[in-house]
Every structure is written in C-alpha cells, then in structure tokens.
C-alpha cells in the first residue's frame, strides 16, 4: 500500500508539469494583453514596453516557459500581475473557501443521494422510485446559474431563513452547497439505484434473506457495501465537476474562493495567477482521485493496492 501510495505521489510530478505546460500554452495563445489590461488603452508605447520588460513579457516565449517551469519546480508560482502579490499567498488565502464549498457540496450530494438511491433501489418501478428518479433528472438538468437564484428567492427572499450571499457562518454555506450538491446528488442517486438493483438478485443476498434477514436489511447491510465501490469511484471522478461548478457558484453567491480569483485573472490576462489557479484545481482533482483509490481498499476488502 505504501509503495502504491508513493508511486501515485511520484506520478503527480508529470501531471503537474503537463497541466502547467498546457495552461501556459493556452493562456499565452488566446488574444489579450496583460500590460494593456494594467496600463489602460491610452498608455504611452514607451510605458507599455517598460512594463513588458519589468514583467519579463518581452523575453522569447521559450525563455518565459523555462523560467515558469523552473520556478514551479522550486515551488514558486510567481507574482500575480494584477494583485502584485505572490500567487501562492493568494491561492492560500482563497483555497480554504473553495474547499469548504466543495466539501459541503459533496456532503449535501451524499446526504440527498443515499436515501433517494436506496428507496429507488429497493423497489424499482414503485412510486418512490419514480419520484426519486424524477428528482434526480431535475437535479442533473437544472444549471447552477438558475438553481442558485431560485434557492435565494425561496429561502432568502420569501422564507427569510438564510442569507443571500457572502461567506460567513454555517448559514452562508447552506445555499451554495445545495446549489453545488444537487447535481451530484442526482448522479450518485442514479448510480446507487443501479448498483442496488444489480446486487438485489445475487446469491449472497438470497442467502442473507433465507437466513431470516428482511430484504430491506439485507440490501442495506450487504448490498449497499458492494454498491459503495462504484459510488466512491464516482465521487472521486465528480470532484472535477464540483470544482468547475464551484467557479459558477462562487460568482453567484459572491463566495471568495479560487473560482472568482481565476475568472478575474482570465479577464486581466494575469498569466501567473491563471496558471497557479488551474494547477491547484488539477492537483486537487488528482489528489482526490488518489484518495479514492486508497478508499477502495477500505470499503472493499477484495481490492489490494500494489
């Protein structure tokens, strides 16, 4: 297990370099100029040239890439052009907010998905199944940009239970987490339902029932454990969707996370900050999936990590 863990950890390096290279290429390829964004439309050409030199943007692109990569390997993500602060410190300031939102979204997703998936899987085709799967389809179909304001209207404006926007206590987290977690809940619920249906007629389930266990108890005690492997895989894979969903959710709820930082950085063509944010998202995704693999061994004793 430790060898496996170290090997996966080692694989992070080429992934980081690959993502960094792709991000570097893409942000430099799209039109737009950070210096013009900084100095404005009427800046004197001499000032533009001077600023280019200061920022190192006058150097050949290969040289800029080498400098960026060398800095990255030393753990230095550079300085943000628009904030004039180190990218690492900006990400360190904002990352907790994004992680808080993503984790809360995942928790909401799981809390909604499990009862729905189990109810559906126990009696496929029944009224509860139809209702739960209807909800799941609705959950997948509603975009965050619509669901967020809808929840605000109901729970903040009409019922006056929760705050509209911003980051604060638990109350501030509820609506963004619901917005983010609903689509995930829908996906997990469908997956769980399918897994439970497929294990329902298994020999070990029949054995459990013939030994006197109620079908519902057998499904929850034995069937659910088997279904967990696919749910855990899905949770890992859905981290990417949650992180990208967080971009939009952060804007809607004025949530001060990396998503808003990234959107602003793209607009300002703040190359180092865009690269830092994308790299953070990518590494988070890879680390979460690595953790997912490790979780397999815990939820399914048949899995050995070598």
């Amino acid at each position: 297990m430790i060898r496996y863990f170290l090997r996966r950890l080692g694989a992070l390096v080429p992934v980081a370099i690959g993502v960094a290279t792709l991000t570097f290429a893409m942000i430099h390829l799209v039109p737009g100029d950070p210096v013009v964004a900084m100095l404005g439309e009427t800046a004197a050409p001499a000032d533009i040239a001077e600023m280019r030199t200061r920022l190192g943007l006058d150097r050949p692109i290969a040289e800029q890439y080498t400098a960026f990569l060398t800095g990255l390997l030393k753990g230095d993500l550079g300085e943000s052009i628009s904030y004039r602060k180190s990218v690492s410190s900006l990400i360190a300031e904002r990352f907790p907010a994004t992680i808080e939102l993503t984790m809360a979204g995942m928790l909401v997703g799981v809390l909604i998905a499990f009862p729905l998936g189990i109810v559906s899987g126990m009696k496929p085709g029944g009224a509860a199944d139809v209702g739960a799967m209807g909800f799941a389809i609705l959950g997948i179909s509603i975009p965050h940009i619509y669901l967020g304001p809808l929840l605000m209207i109901v729970f903040s404006l009409d019922l006056r239970w929760l705050p509209l926007t911003g980051r604060g206590g638990l109350s501030h987290l509820v609506l963004p987490a619901l917005t983010l977690g609903t689509a995930l809940a829908a996906v997990i619920a469908r997956m769980l339902r399918q897994s439970l249906i497929s294990v329902r007629d298994s020999d070990y389930m029949r054995t459990a029932v013939s030994k006197g266990m109620s079908p519902a108890a057998a499904l929850i005690r034995h069937g659910l454990r088997n279904a967990m492997t696919s749910v855990v895989t899905l949770l890992g894979l859905q981290t990417g969707a949650l992180l990208t969903g967080a971009l939009i959710t952060e804007v809607i709820f004025s949530w001060p996370g990396i998503g808003r930082l990234l959107i602003g950085a793209i607009g300002a063509r703040d190359y180092p900050l865009v690269e830092g944010c994308v790299l953070t998202f990518a590494l988070t995704y890879v680390v979460v999936n690595m953790a997912t693999d490790l979780l397999y061994a815990i939820v399914d004793p048949r899995v050995r990590l070598e």
Binding site: P31, G32, V36, M38, E41, M152, W161, L162, V174
Partner: protein
C-alpha cells in the same frame, strides 16, 4: 431538505450581520482596480475614489468645471492655468492640505518610474509648480484646450508611497469619506472623514459590496440588504424592482454612449453607401424601447445633449430599410431570390453584447446583409478590436466630458496602439478640425469647430451611433436626496439623508 433548512434557520444559523446602523450598502459588480487615485482608471474605482479624494476641479451636472480644492482658477495666457486653493481643507488624518500635496500627487503620477496608467493623460503637461502653499501653476507645452481635464486628478497627501499591493485600503484623502477596510472581491468600507462636516441624518459610512451576479444584486435590493445600485441592474428585472414597495427606481439622462464601430480596413466598409445602408437598416428606436426597456435615448453622436459642445443638427439615419436596400443596390450589391446580397461581415462582441448583436444581425439580414457574430470574453474581444480584427463591433464610451475625445478615436494618427481609432478611419478635414479643437482656447470658437466635427462624423459614419444609456438608480426609499450625475458619479452619496427607521436599521 426543507426541514433541514428550517432547522438551520431556527437554530440561529443566523442571517448575515447587516452593515452597522446608518451605513449604506451599495452593490457594485466588480472590485476597483486601484484604491490609489494616481492609478485608478476604471469607472468603479473612480466612483469610490471620488468620495475619498478631492481634485482641483470637478465637473458639475452640466459638464462644467467647478473648483473643488481650488477656490478659483484662471488662464492668464494660452499655456498656463493658475489655481488658488481653498484654506482649512484637511485630510482624514487631520493634516491641512497645501499646494505641496497637489504638486507631490502630480509629480509621483507623471514620473516614468510610477508606471501609472494615467501618465498618458498628462502628455501635454509641461510642468506643475507650487509657488506658495495656496497656489498651483499648471503649464502645458502648447495651447491645449482640454487642459482643465488634467486638473481632475485626485490629490493624496505628500509622502504617500506608490501602492505596492492593489488590495491595500486607500490612502488619506480630503473627501467626505475615508476608506477603513478593503477586501478585494468582497467589499470596501468607507467611514466619514472626521474633518468634514455632515448632517446628523446623513449616513455614517458606505459599504461598497462586490456582487458580480446581476440577479443577486436585484435580489439584494429587493431584500433590503442593498440600499442602492447604479447602472448595474438588467433592464428586464426593473419592472419587478419597481413593484417592490420599499424600492424607488430613478431614471435620468446619462452620457454613456453606445455605438457600432465600422472597420475601414474592409474595402466594403470604405464605401459610404454601405455604411449608410447599415445605419438605415437598424431600428434603434425599437431596440431602445424593447431590448433596453426604454432605458436609453437614441443618439445622434458621441456627445450627449448635456455636453456644452453638443450639436444635434446632424444626419440621424432614422430607420428606413427601403432606403438601405436602395443604397446597397446603388453600391452594386443586388439581392438574390432570398433577398440576400453578397455582403458578409464579422461582428465582434462580448457575451454581454450578444443579444444586441443578434438583434442587429436580424435587422441587417432583412436588407440582405449577412452578419456572423463572434462573441468572446472581454480580454479577447478587446485584443481583437485593438488589432483591427473585426468588421463591425459594438462597445461604449463612459464619462466623455471634453469633446477632445473625438481626437483619440477619430484622428488618423490615433490607430492603436497609439490611440483608440480602432476602425482606422481617416479624413484630412476631420484631422484638421480635431487639431484646431485641441488648441483653440476660446469656448465659442471650439463649440463651432466641434459642431462641424459632429456633422462630419455623422456623414462619414466611422461609428453608427446607437444610444446614450440612461442612468438607472435603484434605491431604498429610506435613502433621500440622492441626485444622480449624468456621468454616473456617485458623489451625491455624501449628501444623502436616511429616513429615521432606516437610520436605526429597523427596515432590514
């Protein structure tokens, strides 16, 4: 789920702490780029900085220059302006403002090492001197009519270092407020400058909250969290906000100018008949009434009627699709069986301008012109128009004051990167008029020059004027005395009063 939410509310997960009593909350769409007036160029920074800092002069509601830090000013000759400063003006830290502060602010802005984006605006300024504590002498290289615009730089205290970090709160100013907290992407908090008198029922401070989503801004207004929002509410939600009893929607004449820019590098667009055909094919009145829900006035040119140099006696191109078709026929572009002609343009826009682009696309198709819309986020769009990579593009100018703006956008020497003539328009008569306009000091003579400039611009059509966007302020009825400026300035926030109930924070 609903039960859990109710539980959360019942257990006191709590509503957000509102701003302190007698503080106003104003929602803005993004963060100010700089809290130091020597660097701030965007509209949002200007709106906030105007409340924290003063400049030698300001523009009043009629677009005229009036003294702010200057008690009086005069032009002894064509290259000098002398400002006599008011006495007893104090910075928010208690120090009295003198001419040394003014000179220091200008020197640190103009110094090449500052790399201030505002430096370009002072290219005509030869020197700024402070012969004594109450006098400032501004000297220009040549007779330069728009020189007064250079007197609008907001003043910081002598010794204020250049900002190193863009998220630092603003330095001390002499304005009615001082900035006490600034968190980028979150909020900027202003409190009263203790050295400036204010009425007992005036707000003690203002929280500018950054709310990027337009729907959320509308909801915050409806909820009573936000007290005021200006020019950042979408027209389609205005009817809803008008129906909220606590809210008041105030529309007033604005000077923000929306236009359709044409690229003269495209040989088809060099033909005036095609440019005029496009102008006649766009039903601007209908778009202003429906798409913009009446929050715009059809424009005749860049200068709004509120500007002293405005001249409305120009070609206006009222909607006339038949005439547009005739002009296209004359230009040799005949319609096929489907009414299409062999003309196709690329229209560059941002996602926000997408619906307008689609409307114009449909109107041009009616006369046989095909338009392909390419919508990109702002930085890409901006990169494209700077490079002249478009046929048609739509954008707006905010806060035009001096008519010398025509020089930046229509003089043939001002193609990017030097200036803003993105469509590479060139007319020797226009160049000559713009040079005269910049160097003629006499206002009456200047007015005549710019009348011809406006006439020529309407004939040549480097821009097809669309509309001047109205200033739309949505505010809580508890906020009294707010009077908008045509250029969108929020300076009136310093003079507003709060109704008693709101002052105690009970309306939330």
């Amino acid at each position: 789920m609903v039960g859990a939410l109710a539980l959360c509310a019942a257990l006191g997960c709590g509503r957000p702490a509102p701003p302190p009593p007698r503080f106003l909350q104003v929602d803005i769409e993004n963060s100010p780029t700089s809290t130091d007036p020597r660097f701030a160029t965007d509209a949002i920074s200007s709106r906030i900085n105007e409340l924290v800092f003063d400049s030698l002069v300001r523009v009043d509601r009629h677009g005229r220059f009036v003294g702010q830090l200057a008690e009086s000013f005069e032009r002894p000759d064509e290259t000098h302006i002398v400002f006599h400063l008011k006495r007893g003006i104090r910075f928010s830290n208690g120090r009295e403002m003198t001419a040394r502060d003014v000179k220091y602010t200008y020197d640190t802005t103009i110094n090449p090492s500052s790399m201030s984006p505002k430096r370009g605006g002072f290219a005509e300024l030869k020197s700024i001197e402070a012969p004594d504590d109450r006098t400032i002498v501004m000297t220009t290289y040549r007779p330069y009519a728009p020189a007064m615009e250079m007197a609008m730089l907001e003043i910081v205290e002598e010794g204020t270092p250049l900002p190193r970090k863009s998220a630092a709160p603003a330095p001390a100013g002499t304005g009615p407020f001082r900035m006490v907290r600034y968190a980028r992407d979150d909020s900027a908090w202003l409190e009263r400058n203790p050295y400036r008198p204010f009425a007992p029922d005036a707000p003690m401070g203002i929280v500018f909250k950054i709310v990027p989503d337009p729907t959320v801004r509308a909801l915050e207004l409806a909820e009573g969290i936000c007290d005021l929002a200006e020019n950042n509410i979408e027209p389609e939600v205005l009817p809803y906000l008008i129906s909220v009893p606590d809210l008041e929607v105030n529309e007033s004449s604005g000077t923000t100018y929306q236009y359709l820019g044409l690229n003269f590098r495209n040989p088809l667009l060099r033909d005036p008949r095609i440019r005029r055909a496009i102008a006649y094919a766009i039903d601007r009145k209908a778009i202003a009434a429906s798409y913009l829900r009446g929050t715009a006035r059809v424009a005749s040119g860049m200068l709004a009627p509120e500007n002293w140099a405005y001249d409305g006696k120009v070609a206006t191109y009222d909607y006339d699709p038949e005439r547009a078709r005739r002009l296209l026929e004359e230009a040799g572009f005949h319609a096929d069986a489907r009414g299409r002609r062999d003309i196709r343009f690329v229209y560059k826009t941002t996602p926000e301008g997408g619906r307008l682009a689609e409307t114009i696309q449909a109107m041009l198709l009616r006369v046989g012109i095909e338009v392909e819309i390419r919508s990109n986020e702002w930085a890409t769009f901006y990169g494209d128009i700077q490079k002249g990579n478009f046929d048609l593009m739509s954008s707006r100018w905010i806060g035009i004051n001096d008519p010398n703006h025509y020089y930046l956008v229509f003089d043939s020497s001002m193609t990017p990167p030097r200036g803003l003539n993105r469509g590479a328009y060139s007319n020797p008569e226009m160049d000559s008029l713009l040079e005269q306009g910049a160097t003629t000091i006499d206002p009456e003579q200047r007015r005549r020059i710019y009348a011809r400039v406006q006439e020529l611009a309407a004939e040549d059509l480097p821009y097809i004027s669309l509309w001047w966007i109205q200033n739309v302020v949505v505010m809580n009825r508890a906020v009294r005395n707010f009077t908008p400026y045509p250029n969108g300035s929020l300076r009136s926030l310093a003079e507003v009063k709060l109704a008693d109930d709101r002052a105690r924070g009970t309306s939330r």
